[in-house]
């Protein structure tokens, strides 16, 4: 039996009718067509699939899509300020926090949630905020620099 529901992603309601086993990640990518959210491990380890669910970061690979009915999902495509990159996106580019780029959407989603609840995080708090996101390129140094830059320049 398929599960029919409405999924709100980046402020737009999408009618969905899928197998109830489907993950939120697979519905976002393959039904709605937003491919910014990445599938890394598909096992809740790497954080590449991170989205915001009612403003809180969640691993979408291991969250049942149908459980997101009536909740608000934000993906990397919903982070920009209109046509402008968000501050954290600019800082990731400026500081060289992106190499292959596969972890980047998840990193930015986790950082967005962190800055929303803690406008002026310490380095420790940034590290804890990003502790569910793996990067295999950068060694994290430049990602942390980007986040610290964003934190320092917030009002």
């Amino acid at each position: 039996m398929t599960h029919e529901f409405e999924l709100q992603v980046n402020g737009i309601a999408h009618p969905v009718d899928v197998d109830p086993s489907r993950s939120l990640l697979s519905v976002i990518r393959d039904e709605i067509g937003l491919t910014g959210t990445k599938e890394g491990c598909d096992d809740c380890e790497c954080g590449a699939c991170m989205v915001l669910l009612d403003g809180q970061p969640v691993n979408s690979c291991s969250y049942l899509a149908a459980q997101a009915e009536g909740r608000s999902v934000t993906t990397i495509e919903g982070i920009m300020n209109g046509d402008e990159l968000a501050e954290i996106q600019k800082d990731m580019l400026d500081e060289g926090g992106v190499q292959c780029g596969f972890c980047t959407p998840g990193m930015i989603i986790s950082a967005t949630a962190l800055f929303a609840r803690n406008p002026d995080p310490t380095k420790d708090e940034i590290q804890i905020g990003l502790s569910g996101n793996l990067c295999r390129c950068t060694g994290y140094g430049r990602i942390l620099e980007a986040m610290k830059h964003t934190a320092a320049n917030r009002d």
Partner: protein, 303 residues
């Protein structure tokens, strides 16, 4: 999975569970196990994460009742948990990552019954009772009787864990949970220990009550026997802490696996036990040791 139902009332959820539906809240065990290929999703699943009555933390004169779907993120920041039942906040703050803690729940931990669950030792030393509901009624099971083996509990198939109930500690008490970890996030305890220490209110620092439980050294989380007898009337000094470590090591029956050998676990669980007892006794004097203890006393401290 053939069917997912989103329960809107507890009665509806209990009726479905009686028909064989498996409950899911955050899915950090059920769904992750399926993604990892360890087990298939059940055919019939009922989501219980929207049931308001399962998501409350209620203080009463006798203690605290924590709803089954209260998340780790709430446990680690809720004032009544942090102030009165600090070991549970220590444990919740170590679970997974922020994303895991946002959807993972205390009830999920309790029913998953992993011997490595971080919240297990705190529930044992805090004398928690597991609140089980079914269409037949409600019953409370002491946590010391609840876990019967890895992944096994004393609950019946039609019962849902709706809450954990924790009695208040005596005055001049403190609690703490410490674990050995190889990394600071997305980690499972190599070994861990939870402790409660109650001190003489007259202020001479002597112990009047103590309990200790161990994580990931037996088929279930276990209580350490004889800890109160060993500590009552004494100061928490080097000699007392050495006795704590010895008792813990003696009662551990760890396995060897990829993550640690039997001998290493037996030794390190003693180290975690003495750290947990020391942190609990310092909190009992009113000293503020921030949650989680792991980050506050130098184990895996973020630099």
């Amino acid at each position: 999975m053939k069917e997912l139902r989103i329960a809107t009332t507890l009665e509806e959820a209990l009726a479905l569970i009686a028909e064989g539906y498996q409950p899911v809240a955050g899915g950090t065990d059920l769904v992750v196990a399926a993604r990892g290929g360890n087990s298939e999703l059940p055919d019939h699943v009922v989501a219980i994460d929207r049931l308001a009555e399962l998501s409350e933390i209620n203080s009463s004169t006798g203690g605290l009742q924590i709803g089954a779907t209260v998340s780790h993120a709430r446990l680690m920041s809720d004032e009544s948990v942090v102030d009165g039942f600090t070991a549970l906040a220590d444990a919740a703050a170590l679970v997974g990552s922020p994303a895991t803690r946002n959807v993972g729940t205390i009830g999920g931990n309790v029913m998953n019954a992993s011997p490595a669950m971080d919240t297990g030792s705190p529930l044992v030393v805090l004398d928690a009772e597991i609140v089980l509901r079914s269409a037949r009624g409600e019953r409370l099971v002491p946590v010391s009787d609840f876990w019967t083996g890895p992944g096994q509990t004393a609950s019946e198939p039609d019962e849902l864990c709706t809450a954990v109930a924790i009695p208040n500690l005596p005055s001049d008490s403190g609690s703490a949970y410490v674990r050995l970890e190889y990394r600071r996030a997305m980690e499972i305890a190599v070994v861990g220990a939870g402790a409660v220490v109650s001190l003489d209110p007259d202020g001479d620092g002597r112990v009047v009550g103590a309990s200790l439980a161990l994580t990931a050294v037996a088929p279930t989380v276990i209580a350490v026997h004889g800890i109160a007898d060993a500590l009552i009337g004494r100061l928490i000094d080097e000699s007392a802490l050495a006795d704590v470590a010895a008792l813990a090591g003696d009662q551990a029956s760890p396995i060897s696996d990829l993550r640690a050998s039997n001998d290493y676990r037996r030794h390190t669980v003693g180290v975690m036990a003495r750290r947990a007892v020391e942190a609990a006794s310092r909190r009992a004097t009113g000293e503020s040791i921030l949650v989680p203890v792991n980050r506050s006393i130098g184990i895996g401290a973020v630099t």
